[in-house]
């Protein structure tokens, strides 16, 4: 029987041919944790009898969630991470480096066909690079640091075929919001998604990362893009040596095949408090906002800041609202400075915060007040996500957020592009 991408990668890492439903014990190529999860990793590592890590070159810690530290509790946890990283000789991406899911691919740690484990649910982002990457909890990550291995139940696969050309003013974020709206927050629960179709031929790596980043919002374990010229071109900037690729067999078995032609896709918005409550922007246009946020591992890349700047350049955001901008990494920040993007965003009224998670997860950098409404480029709008359960979070693309920031209310970015 033929194999899907995930079946091939898990077979390769477990030393036997596996199919969906099998349990496989696999060797891990790279593992990491961030400051929300690493402290528990360290605790569990010692409790389970850990001493040396299995391979210090295959592990990293990233301080991005509350970075720099907003209070003494967090400072103690950050110190714990720094001490452990130093003692075990593992790489530490300290404050200001950026969000783990941008920093790690940029550090050249991800290659097609790799098996990556992260103590963060959006680890699935690296599927954009044709790698199997998935999030686990702290204790499992500790077991990986100790043994270099982890068990997997081989997931069944869902093939999503995307056809057509994206209309102006829409982007990868609209694609993935639309898909999640269609299949639901558990529409791909336990599954591996393979993306294919003509639409992807013109989709840059930033867009692929955005889509892969959010597959977990449909419950998926991982999501894959194929390794093509666009992937190779991106990778050669960060990794040396030959780049392989993993493709499914022609007779591979899919539990579900979904096909969409997105030639007339409209900009999409996810409504509070569920990521799958998705409507075309026109249906919610006019709703006043208090805070706009451009950043996160979903949409804090250079391409995202660039489109926002192209909309905001030479203009001023609405007086009643604030705009927070968090570049996804130091590299993104530096490029944005060099291109003048940052100047445009700040002159338009944007407030720049440290590369990292920004206000995405409610730890610092822009917690909304009671009754306030936030329009964000992030991936989650759960109640209380940004630190206040009495606020509302709407999710949209960088173009929609930037255009809405100008207007002070949720607005259709097609008005700008026309």
């Amino acid at each position: 029987m033929g194999q899907t991408i995930v079946e091939k990668i898990l077979s390769g890492h477990s030393g036997r041919k596996v199919h969906a439903g099998d349990i496989a014990l696999c060797d891990i190529d790279f593992a990491f944790a961030q400051d929300g999860t690493a402290p528990l990793v360290i605790k569990a590592f010692y409790e389970m009898g850990g001493d040396d890590v299995f391979d210090s070159n295959k592990i990293a810690f990233v301080i991005d969630h509350s970075s720099p530290s907003p209070n003494e509790g967090v400072s103690a946890l950050h110190k714990m991470m720094r001490d452990f990283a130093h003692e075990k000789g593992i790489q530490l991406f300290d404050i200001g480096s950026g969000v783990c899911h941008q920093v790690i691919p940029e550090s050249g740690r991800i290659r097609p066909g790799d098996l990556i484990i992260g103590a963060d649910s959006h680890t699935c982002t690296y599927g954009a690079l044709n790698a199997m990457a998935t999030g686990v909890g702290s204790t499992e990550l500790a077991a990986v640091l100790y043994t270099g291995k982890l068990w997997f139940r081989v997931p069944s696969s869902c093939k999503i075929i995307l056809e057509g050309n994206l209309p102006k003013a829409t982007s990868a974020k609209d694609v993935i919001l639309f898909l999640i709206g269609k299949i639901g927050a558990d529409g791909a629960n336990y599954q591996s998604i393979e993306f294919t179709g003509s639409l992807l031929r013109n989709l840059d790596m930033a867009g692929r990362f955005t889509i892969a980043n959010m597959v977990v919002e449909a419950g998926a374990k991982c999501g894959f893009f194929f390794c093509d010229e666009i992937t190779r071109e991106w990778l050669t900037r960060y990794v040396d040596g030959e780049i392989c690729s993993v493709t499914p067999d022609p007779d591979a078995n899919y539990e579900r095949v979904i096909e969409y032609d997105l030639s007339s896709l409209m900009p999409q918005v996810a409504l509070p408090h569920e990521v799958d409550k998705v409507l075309p922007v026109g249906d919610v246009a006019g709703l006043k906002i208090d805070q706009a946020f451009i950043g996160t591992c979903t949409n804090g890349r250079l391409e995202d800041l660039r489109i926002a700047a192209s909309i905001l350049k030479g203009k001023k955001i609405d007086k009643k609202i604030r705009l927070i901008v968090a570049p996804a990494s130091k590299r993104v920040l530096l490029s944005a400075i060099e291109e003048g993007i940052l100047q445009d965003l700040i002159e338009a009224g944007g407030c720049l915060v440290t590369p990292g998670c920004g206000c995405c997860v409610g730890t610092h950098n822009g917690v909304p007040a009671d009754g306030e409404r936030v329009l964000s480029t992030a991936n989650r709008n759960f109640k209380g996500r940004m630190g206040n359960k009495n606020s509302e979070i709407y999710l949209a693309s960088p173009a929609t957020v930037a255009w809405s920031a100008l207007k002070g209310k949720i607005s259709d970015p097609r008005e700008f592009f026309e």
Binding site: L25, G36, Y146, T147, K149, W151, D186, N189, F382, G384
Partner: protein
């Protein structure tokens, strides 16, 4: 292993931010303290209502959202003996087993708030004593039961000095 307690009823898609808000979890590793905030955005008094051994009973996709292990941990520290749901989110499912919190996948649609339940993990059934009904449960793979019996993955790895699959 037979567990006995009352049902506390919740709906579908209960996510990890609802279980324990990020604003607490980044501050401390003190699970006793965190557990007081369990599900407080849905029910501010929930922690006070729990009697040792009680169950959380929910609909589909329980535990969706982040990979924070604090979510199953705070449930365990709040003295909930198991979570029953019609389905669980993937990472939460793994995390719960790894921290030694039993999960029961079964049809929860007929269980109401306050029902007296007996959960028989080995026997593969839930008995709703209030309704006098029996519900079949989806059995766990054997190595997961081994992890649960070791009190979680820490105990399992310590005992076996690695994996035994």
């Amino acid at each position: 292993m037979k567990l006995v307690g009352k049902a506390h009823r919740f709906g579908d898609d209960i996510n990890t931010d609802l279980i324990i808000s990020g604003k607490y979890k980044f501050k401390t590793l003190d699970m006793e303290e965190l557990s007081k905030h369990l599900l407080e955005d849905l029910d501010p008094d929930f922690f006070k209502k729990i009697k040792k051994g009680d169950f959380i009973v929910a609909g589909k996709n329980f535990g969706c959202g982040s990979s924070r292990e604090q979510a199953p941990l705070v449930i365990k520290y709040a003295h909930i003996s198991a979570v029953l749901a019609s389905s669980f989110a993937r990472i939460f499912y793994r995390n719960a087993i790894n921290v030694g919190l039993p999960l029961v996948e079964c049809d929860t649609s007929k269980i109401d708030e306050g029902d007296n339940l007996v959960v028989d993990l080995e026997g593969g059934k839930v008995i709703d004593q209030t309704k006098q009904e029996e519900i079949d449960i989806t059995p766990l793979p054997s190595f997961m039961i081994e992890i649960l019996s070791a009190g979680g993955l820490v105990g399992y790895i310590k005992e076996n000095r690695g994996w035994r699959i």
